[in-house]
């Protein structure tokens, strides 16, 4: 169909060109002809007239004067674009081009004024306000002095063809997908379209699928699956639901989108992605977490309890060497408990995704609390935490508990990798429309080998840490995911033997500061 259209368009263009050449030749050579030539010219003019008639009947033709005002249109033009002749004559052709093609309209006129033919796709406003996509050939007419006197434009409405081409493109893209795509009517849940993957899964042809109830597919077997879980589609035009199919026992994530056909007609396009395996993995992960929480902590309770009783000499005095060994065992059981706690914390952060309540938080207070809460740990390692800028009140949308978790992780990391007697600075400042929170240490810097994976789980710097303090390699992974949940981003600068500075950029809270603070400020 596309090829036919192209051939037809090309033929029209050629026809127009032939007419113009012949017409132009006729005009220019009119004064020099002989009687014989007159006869030949008469025949040529008859031919031209015939071809012109054919042209006027086949395409939507408009004739404009040298200024671009419409002087004539054929009936095909009126039929195609829905105008009355009187509404067109005398008006400038550019008035019928959409706003974004005004420049193109000027370019066409400039080119044709130079006697050159223009051909290409343009839009034209229909009488009902809609826009038609046309293939347009504009041919200039020149007088004997090569002066541009008028344009003849012939248009073919290719809107429908273009839509069909686009539809083909979209369906061909859907057919390449390895997820099932189904378009259905939400009024009666009958299928309008299924992509190749979905058809193959059901062993249906496109014709067999058309008109079949959605409930006969392997994805959803009863209306409640879709209706109950997909109420939000009426509010925001899309929804995601996890559906456990009763037909084949598989689990699907159904991503649905409302497609508007006209003001009162809608369709639902749903992509069914099978997630059975990942759901199984998630269940397995939860089981593992349960094992970690209970099965590891329970024996550790016995180990730590027994060691604690020994260490306190509740069972009687111990030789110094034995007490030293018990101390080593106690520290390591504490370390294992910390690791378990961090793994649980990471899993909890993952599980809580999207469930963190956000509220106005003053970063100045967050920093003060964090320094106070973590200074004891810092002192053990000979580190001083301080706010070098005495951060002023800076409000962001966040969560106090999450900020404390993030800062505790960054501050303990900074302390672990900094030399005793050094300082770790924590401050916040405004940078354009962001608030940036900094944690800067004076440590050895982050080794370049681990930098690309720094925020991944279980990544640890192969550096000497002090005070026998070991990390789980989960801290920065937790920090990154928590920062992202606060709509922020994290990056860092590091230099060998100079230190590292982590920066957390957060959107500045728009509007007035919270009432409580405003009252305090004015008091």
């Amino acid at each position: 169909m596309v090829e036919l259209l192209n051939i037809s368009t090309a033929a029209t263009t050629l026809l127009v060109v032939v007419i113009v050449i012949l017409s132009g030749a006729a005009i220019r050579r009119k004064d020099k002809i002989t009687d014989l030539a007159k006869q030949q010219l008469h025949e040529t003019e008859l031919e031209v007239a015939f071809q012109r008639k054919a042209l006027f009947e086949s395409g939507a033709v408009s004739v404009t004067d040298e200024e671009g005002k419409i002087v004539d249109v054929n009936s095909k033009f009126l039929d195609t674009f829905g105008y009355q002749r009187d509404a067109l004559i005398g008006r400038h052709i550019s008035e019928f081009y959409p706003e974004n093609e005004q420049t193109l309209s000027r370019e066409i006129r400039a080119k044709t004024r130079d006697g050159r033919i223009w051909s290409g796709e343009t839009h034209l406003l229909r009488a009902d306000g809609s826009t038609a996509l046309t293939h347009n050939t504009v041919v200039p007419f020149l007088d004997g002095n090569n002066r541009h006197i008028k344009n003849l434009a012939i248009r073919t409405d290719i809107s429908k063809q273009k839509i069909r081409d686009n539809q083909k493109l979209v369906t061909s893209a859907f057919d390449k997908m390895t997820d099932a795509v189904v378009l259905f009517d939400p009024n009666n849940f009958t299928i309008i379209y299924m992509n190749a993957f979905a058809l193959a899964e059901h062993g249906w042809s496109a014709d067999e699928a058309y008109g079949t109830s959605l409930w006969k597919t392997r994805y959803v077997s009863k209306p409640t699956d879709m209706n109950e879980k997909c109420k939000s589609i009426n509010e925001n035009g899309k929804c995601t639901a996890r559906i456990e199919s009763e037909t084949n026992g598989k689990v699907y994530d159904a991503h649905s989108y409302r497609v508007t056909v006209s003001s009162d007609t809608h369709r639902i396009l749903t992509m069914f992605r099978e997630v059975t395996q990942s759901v199984e993995l998630e269940r397995e992960r939860n089981r593992l977490i349960s094992i970690i929480t209970h099965e590891l902590r329970t024996p550790l309770t016995s180990i730590k309890g027994a060691l604690g009783l020994l260490d306190s000499c509740a069972m009687g005095p111990m030789p110094a060497e034995a007490k030293n060994l018990v101390g080593i065992a106690l520290r390591n059981s504490d370390r294992m408990l910390d690791l378990i706690a961090q793994i649980l914390e990471a899993e909890k952060a993952e599980h809580d995704a999207g469930n963190i309540p956000l509220e106005p938080v003053n970063l100045a207070e967050v920093i003060r609390s964090a320094i106070s809460a973590n200074q004891g740990y810092g002192t053990e390692l000979g580190i001083t935490f301080r706010d070098p800028c005495d951060t002023p009140d800076l409000w962001v949308n966040g969560n106090e508990r999450v900020f404390q978790q993030v800062l505790a992780n960054l501050m303990s990391n900074a302390a672990k990798f900094s030399p005793s007697g050094s300082t770790v600075d924590i401050w916040a400042e405004r940078q354009k429309d962001k608030i940036v929170l900094h944690v800067r240490d004076q440590g050895k810097g982050i080794p370049s080998a681990i930098q690309p994976h720094l925020f991944s789980r279980f990544v640890k710097a192969n550096q000497e840490v002090r005070g026998n303090v070991h990390g789980s390699g989960l801290g920065l992974s937790i920090v990154k995911s928590q920062v992202e949940r606060l709509n922020g981003s994290i990056d860092y600068e590091t230099a060998e033997n100079v230190g590292t500075c982590f920066r957390i950029a957060l959107p500045r809270l728009q509007g007035a500061q919270p009432m409580g603070n405003a009252l305090q400020a004015s008091a």
Partner: protein, 127 residues
């Protein structure tokens, strides 16, 4: 206010029973009677006349929650303070145990040197 003297402890882990016994008895000076399961404890627990019951949550067959409900049906033990001990420390887990009626929940691992003091404080607050 009556003194806390006698505690019944139910836990399926023999090592933890031993640590708890030493912590409460040896360090804390309390009388402790222990059972490895709810099934073992229920027929005789009333005779022990406990002032307070320490109850593990995750036990095979009859878990801590079921054991709790059965104890409450035993005449004389309807109001005896029951404290759960658990390694499951999530907020949801703790909330559901308190909702059941436990006077408190102790998280494992616990400090063996201060367990008796913790239990005494819980007992005082519960009475």
């Amino acid at each position: 206010m009556p003194d806390l003297k006698r505690i019944v402890h139910i836990d399926d882990e023999p090592d933890i029973r031993e640590i708890v016994r030493m912590s409460l008895s040896l360090v804390g000076g309390l009388d402790v009677e222990q059972y490895p399961s709810g099934e073992d404890a229920l027929p005789v627990i009333a005779d022990a006349k406990p002032d307070l019951i320490l109850l593990d949550v995750m036990m095979p067959n009859m878990d801590g929650e079921e054991t709790y409900r059965r104890i409450r049906e035993i005449p004389g033990l309807e109001n005896t303070p029951i404290v759960f001990m658990t390694a499951k420390a999530s907020t949801t887990d703790l909330a559901s145990l308190r909702e059941l009626g436990a006077v408190d929940v102790l998280i494992k691992p616990f400090d063996p040197m201060s367990l008796a003091d913790q239990v005494r404080t819980i007992y005082r607050n519960a009475c």
